[in-house]
Structure formats: structure tokens, C-alpha cells
């Protein structure tokens, strides 16, 4: 019988993407929780290059990097596709996934960890980036159209984690400047499959509060 394991932590947004994809396709999996301060021998064996989560292991074969895992899931289990059939639509979804991971996320992390002018500039970059993301939602319920797609899973942190950044660091990410994104947030977070795996807000606040204090020690 096919065996699917997923190495992750309770809070990882990259891991959440993979869980959501598996659940959308109705794939049973075993979650293996990693303590990143004490990584298991198995994780190090399965992901020797990055030593990170998430790692999907299917029939004993490991796959690392969340976007690579999502493409693998899509190709292996064809029900409830998260990518459109047409190559241009696929290219578009992949473009936005890359945009989130390579531009948006690093900017928000910079805004979270830095201070003063650097924080301001980073937030400026976030807000600029979000303008493009907002455009992409025009005329659509989800980034994937009528149903959740790859880009929704990748932008999922905007629904799960952005409110935490606001509470902990005072970073107002989604406001009235982005009406489409504001409308998308509850569509995504209240979707029955997504809702069923939702890193809890209160627990995330505690975690990120501690992280924030690490980067901004009281003087």
C-alpha cells in the first residue's frame, strides 16, 4: 500500500502548503513532527542539502522543497488538480508561487526582523509587491479561479500568519488598499479543507512574540 509521510513542524507555513494539497486530494499521510533545535537523523538523511522541513516521503523516497513537493503531489495524484491544464495557466501559477517565495516572503521577514529605516523600506517593498498580487485576483474568487490552486496554497500565509505579524510587530499588511485580498482571506481560511489544518493563531502569536523579542531585545 502506498505510504506517505510528511516531516514538518506545527507552525511551518511551507509544511502547511503540503498538508493542504494532500488534504485537497484526499491523501492519507503520517505527520512526523520535527524539533528543529534537535533534528532527527532521518530528516538529515532525507534532506542532506538543506536539513529543513517539509520533506515528503512517498514509498520510502524523500522529496524536499515545498514547491517541488506540490508539483510531485499534483503529478502523482491527479484528482482535484491544483494546477490548470493549459501550459500558460500553469506558468502563471508557478510565476506567482516564485514571486511569493523569492520576493514577498523575504521582504516581510526583513520588516519583521529589522528596525527603523530598514523596516520601513522592507514594508514599502511588501506593499508594492502586494499591489501586483491584488491585481492577480481580479475577477477571481481564488488565485486558482473557482477552486483553490497552487498560488492560493503558497499565499496561504497571508491568511494564517499575516494577522500574527500585525499583532506582534505592528506590521499592517492587508488593509483597505487590498479589497480583493481582504475578500480572499476568509474564502481561503474558511474553506472546509483548509480550516481543518490551521496553525492556531494564539500559539503562533506566542512563538512569533518570542522571536520578535530575540530580534529586538529591550534596551
Amino acid at each position: 500500500m502506498a505510504e506517505v509521510k510528511l516531516f514538518k513542524t506545527w507552525s511551518t507555513q511551507f509544511g502547511a502548503r503540503v498538508v493542504w494539497a494532500l488534504k485537497l486530494k484526499g491523501i492519507q499521510y503520517e505527520a512526523i513532527h520535527e524539533d528543529l533545535s534537535n533534528k532527527s537523523a532521518l530528516l538529515l538523511q532525507y534532506n542532506p542539502v538543506y536539513k529543513k522541513v517539509p520533506v515528503l516521503v512517498h514509498n520510502g523516497k524523500p522529496i524536499s522543497e515545498s514547491l517541488v513537493i506540490l508539483e510531485y503531489i499534483e503529478e502523482t495524484w491527479k484528482q482535484n488538480p491544483i494546477l490548470p491544464e493549459d501550459p500558460l495557466g500553469k506558468a502563471n501559477a508557478r510565476f506567482w508561487a516564485k514571486f511569493n517565495d523569492e520576493k514577498l516572503l523575504p521582504s516581510i521577514w526583513s520588516a519583521f526582523t529589522k528596525e527603523g529605516k530598514e523596516r520601513e523600506e522592507a514594508m514599502g517593498a511588501v506593499l508594492e509587491s502586494l499591489k501586483f498580487v491584488e491585481e492577480e485576483l481580479k475577477g477571481k474568487k481564488f488565485f486558482g479561479g473557482e477552486t483553490i490552486g497552487l498560488a492560493d496554497l503558497v499565499f496561504g500565509w497571508l491568511a494564517n500568519l499575516a494577522p500574527v505579524f500585525e499583532e506582534v510587530a505592528g506590521l499592517k499588511i492587508l488593509d483597505e488598499r487590498y479589497p480583493l485580498l481582504l475578500a480572499w482571506q476568509p474564502e481561503f481560511s474558511e474553506h472546509p479543507i483548509i480550516k481543518d489544518y490551521w496553525p492556531p493563531h494564539d500559539k503562533l502569536v506566542i512563538k512569533y512574540q518570542a522571536l520578535y523579542e530575540k530580534y529586538h531585545p529591550a534596551k
Partner: protein, 210 residues
Amino acid sequence: MEQVQLLGMWLSPYSYRVIWALQLKGIAYEYIEEDLSNKSPLLLQCNPVHKKIPVLIHSGKPICESSVILEYIEEIWPQNSLLPCDPYERAIARFWIKFADDKGPIVWKICGTRGEERQKVIEESLEMLKTIEEHGLGDKKFFGGDKISMVDIAFGGLAYWPGVIEKVLGRNLLEAHKFPRLHAWTKNFKEVPEIKENLPDFGRLLKRQT
């Protein structure tokens, strides 16, 4: 007939990735060299988000980001396949293509840095090359086996840039005894006719760095 255009720049290894893929599949295309200090209205219209090359324009529709373009090319023109059929092997290929995207660029930073910073960048580059040597390349001719694939194309810049960097630094970077697999791979890669006939001029690259 379908129209294929490529907005590129001769200095960019990302631009060359697309050229190599199109050449390997025998796709006719119009190449448009962009002056990045004076970006064309076409580029800005086709890639408003990043304003970068390469951009592939297929029947009037733009596709941006070289690794996204490579996947698109593979899907539209499946001949001379650049990805394996098996989903797991495709995942391994995509892992390394992503590694080339995420970690590869450190090498391009060497020439632009000085002193302590340059030393740090060189060390990081060597670490990156070591990872490819130990985990990415087996003992076959190319990353995926005996045939050139998308992974080789993604790493293609490493087949010619280190030679330029070594001339600028006055020291070796990709030494054969330290990186035997990578060294052999650079030769195998550059011997593929479609690659050999489509490499930037070494002298011109060197002039640009010095």
C-alpha cells in the same frame, strides 16, 4: 505559424537557459537583445512585475522567470524531452533546478565584491559547488544521466562563468581535483552541439568583468 520571441541579454546565464532549451528542441524563434540600462516598452509591458529578462513571448503571450519558461517550453514542445517521465525523478530534477535558482547566483557576486566580502562570497560559492559535486551529480555524463536535461541547462552558467571569474581572480575556483564530477560535466555540457554553438564569447565576458 506560431510566433516565438525571446527578450534576452548576452551577459545573462538565465537568458542562455532559454536559448539552449529552444535550440535543443529545434524551435525557431526571434531573439531580441535588451539594453537593461534602457529597457524597451515591450519588456516593461511583458514583465511589469520584475522588469527583467528573459521573457518568452509565445503567440503574443509573455512568460517570465527562466525556470518557469523552461517548464512551459517542455510542455508546449515535448520533443527531445528535457525532464524525465517518472514523477519522482522529475521531483529530483526540479529540486536541483530550484537549487540552481536559489543557491547558484552566489557565484555571480564574486566579481562585484572586494576584500573580506569577496573572500566570504568565494567560500560560499565553493560550498555551493561542493554540494552539487557531492549530492547533485552522479557519475553519469549529465545531471539526469546520459542525456542533457533541464537540470544541466539550469546549471549551464557554471560551465563557462567560473573560467571568467578565475581569470579575474587570478586563482582557480572549479579545480578538477577538488570537483572531478563538476569539472567533467562542464566539458560534457559544452560539447553538446546546441550548447557549443550558443555560448557567449569568452573574451567579451572577460572584458566586461575587468
